[in-house]
Point group: C2
């Protein structure tokens, strides 16, 4: 898969999971000690996000990193 | 999982997969247009690697990004 395509798809999956948990961007940002505007840019696929920030977001969304990535890479739902 | 722990485990999985494919760091670096010293630092777990570079390395190792991450996160082998 193309690098930026996975970056954008991962952003959408993060947003979908956040909404499914009923969280605002502010609440998600607080959970992972990241800035709300940063979370917004990740969700829009604008950030070449690092592994450490992906872990923080996955933890805050109560899911495994690989499950987030698989949902983005394969279009499979998060269990 | 702790951010830096996954970073280190991912580095080990990348190295193991490279060796299983019989590739040198130089050959892997060439495949993904990254510098050999960068690949070395990723394998040693010293790099907070970005999603785009993980994609490039996964592609070069002929595996899916989520499979690399799952191997690091869960200790499961790459299919």
């Amino acid at each position: 898969m193309d690098e930026t395509l996975l970056q954008r798809k991962l952003g959408h999956i993060i947003r979908d999971r956040r909404l499914a948990l009923g969280l605002s961007q502010e609440e998600l940002a607080d959970r992972c000690a990241l800035h709300r505007t940063y979370v917004g840019s990740v969700e829009r696929g604008e950030r070449n996000i690092s592994i450490q920030n992906i872990v923080r977001i996955a933890n805050a969304l109560d899911t495994r990193v690989w499950e987030l990535i698989r949902a983005a890479e394969e279009g499979l739902p998060i269990p």
